[in-house]
Amino acid sequence: MTVAAAAQPTSSATMFSPKWIAEHLSRWPLHIAVIGLTAAWMVPTIGLLVSSFRPFSGQATSGWWTAFANPTTFTISNYTQVLSAGTTNLGQAFFNSFMIAVPATVLPVTIGAFAAYAFAWMKFPGRNGLFLALVGLLAVPLQLTFIPVLSFYVQHLHWTTNNLEATGIPGLPWVPLWLAHAGYGLPFSIYLLANFFRALPSDLFESAEIDGAGTLTVFFRIVLPLSVPALASLVIFQFLWVWNDLLVALIYVGGTPSVAPLTVNLAGLTTSLGQGSNLLTSAAFFSMIVPLIVFLSLQRYFVRGILAGSVKG
């Protein structure tokens, strides 16, 4: 991510002059590449969207693109079935996903920001070694941790979904999952933010120090406001990962409908024989709504040139 104000190639050439044409032609390869990539990424989603309006029989026998030849077969029954509470319990799963994703995003981003600030701007013994170890953790496959962490939860803390639900405290059954996600997210979160913080001009910190700002004040009033682009991208990244996660949720909270997230619920819609796979298409679309909203609402924080005017002219 760039923080420097990118120079816009502004053309001073008059329209349709040879220079103007040359400038515009030279950008064509770029445009073609961008449009091509976008299209390639869009195709599966569009296919999913079209399929979600086709009946099960159609989905099972022909490709989605053939549906346009026979538009009368389009139906909204997939959506009505998914939404009817009796069959899928989508509302509860939606709520669960939220209850899982929000703390599992806030935790690693918040803790990560504090840690990254320390790694970037505070001197303490073992800083470099610790940071190196952290970067090393990025390479550890999280599947490797399932058994030790889970056995620790269950054998030492007795944190099973049943036990935690039995306490009656709302939210408690998700605690193991929140902690797990925070742990898995932290190395990347610290790594990304520390690099971003480190790039902030040191003069700002010295100036703030002379102005009388303590470490926490510098963090909250200078570092965080200047790191909004990094924080926003990290939030998006972490939220999407948790929202779309099936495996970790399945391991730590299991399939109990009262606590299982949307992904687990969706996976349960289809049987091993393919029954109900038509519902999968429409349900997947429901699950996409939230990431889309998160992405679009945070996108405006990717302001370029946030540091402009700080140091030098």
């Binding site: 001009p201 003069d203 700002l204 010295e206 100036s207 703030a208 120090e209 002379i210 102005d211 009388g212 700002a213 004040t217 009033r221 200078i222 406001p225 200047l226 040139g305 946030i306 540091l307 402009a308 005017g309 700080s310 140091v311 030098k312 002219g313």
Partner: protein, 351 residues
């Protein structure tokens, strides 16, 4: 408002990297002191030690009578203007200037009064709601000054504050800074590598080289009586002419001329120094030298001649009306009052 004393201050990074060596200087209350020297001479480090941004290896720094070695930067009652300005980019001009006061837990109306009066002094009234990125270089520089002024500190530290401005603005700001110094009646300590800034602004100048303080004095002092070869060569543009000479009692012999010295010196090798303006187009009987002119620069108010006297390169600053062409040989008089002699070994000045 306070004096500042560097009492035999040393800054050492490792055993063999010492950037400031045994620096002793007393800066008087309300004085405009300029620390000047080539880059890497330790002047910024000296300033940063006073600011509290660098630790002091040996010696003491006192502000007034208080030893500040172990006082946190924010409690030293100083304000600093950075070369890069270091404005908080996400805050408006007003908030930038209010920030140090908020940190000092000052009341809102007081903050407002101080920020407004500082912005009036600096002509920033109309920009208070702007962000730094919407300001020109000169305006940003003034915001940085304003952020320092609002605190009414005992000592102002300025670390090359003009080096990011264009030449015209720099000249203008130089004058504004002097005015500001008079208005605020506060001690200013100003670091620069530009000897013109040092000469024009400083009440006194401290010249540093390779971590060692070379000379402290008024601009006139260091210009007319440089303590050593380095100071003589650093102060003044074009630089002083240096001609190796052999001395015997009170005469000096160079490759292209010989002259009587105003004082007697021990016999041996020396370095004779004289400024370009010590040469005139009126040859005198006591000391005349013949110069073969290579290049002539006419600046309107001045005329610079670059050429050779004997085998030594010499620059002369002569009356612009004097008619000289490259290739000419001209006879120039040397004003003996402008002569300096330095020891060839120690580089210290005899006179």
């Amino acid at each position: 408002m306070s004096s500042v004393t560097y009492d035999h201050v040393v800054k050492r990074y490792t055993a063999d990297i010492t950037v400031v060596k045994d620096m002793y200087v007393e800066i008087k209350d309300k004085e405009f002191m300029v620390l000047v020297g080539p880059s890497g001479c330790g002047k910024s480090t000296a300033l940063r030690m006073l600011a509290g941004l660098e630790s002091i290896t040996e010696g003491e720094i006192r502000i007034g009578d208080r030893v500040v070695n172990n006082v946190a930067a924010k409690d030293r009652d100083i304000a600093m203007v950075f070369q890069s300005y270091a404005l908080y980019p996400h805050m408006s001009v007003y908030d930038n200037m209010a920030f140090p006061l908020q940190m000092a837990h000052m009341k809102k109306p007081d903050i407002d009064r101080r920020v407004r009066s500082a912005s009036k002094i600096l002509g920033l009234d109309n920009f208070l709601s702007r962000k730094p990125r919407a300001l020109s270089g000169g305006q940003r520089q003034r915001v940085a000054l304003g952020r320092a002024i609002v605190r009414s500190p005992k000592v102002f530290l300025l670390d090359e504050p003009l080096s990011n401005l264009d030449a015209k603005l720099r000249g203008q700001t130089r004058i504004e800074l002097q005015k500001l110094h008079r208005e605020l009646e506060t001690t200013f300590i100003y670091v620069t590598h530009d000897q013109v800034e040092a000469m024009t602004m400083g009440d006194r100048i401290a010249i540093m080289n390779a971590g060692i303080l070379q000379q402290v004095g008024t601009p006139g002092d260091v210009y007319d009586h440089p303590a050593n070869l380095f100071v003589a060569g650093f102060i003044g543009t074009p630089t002083m002419n240096f001609v190796p000479v052999t001395t015997s009692d009170s005469s000096a012999k160079a490759s292209g001329f010989e002259l009587k010295l105003p004082k007697s010196v021990p016999a041996g090798k020396g370095m004779l120094g004289f400024r370009p303006e010590a040469l005139t187009d009126r040859p005198s009987e006591i000391s005349t030298l013949e110069m073969k002119v290579d290049v002539v620069e006419r600046l309107g108010s001045d005329q610079f001649l670059y050429g050779q006297v004997g085998s030594d390169a010499v620059t002369a600053r002569v009356d612009p009306r004097m008619k000289v062409e490259p290739g000419d040989s001209v006879k120039l008089g040397l004003d003996v009052r402008g002569l300096h002699l330095f020891d060839a070994q120690s580089e210290a000045a005899f006179f």
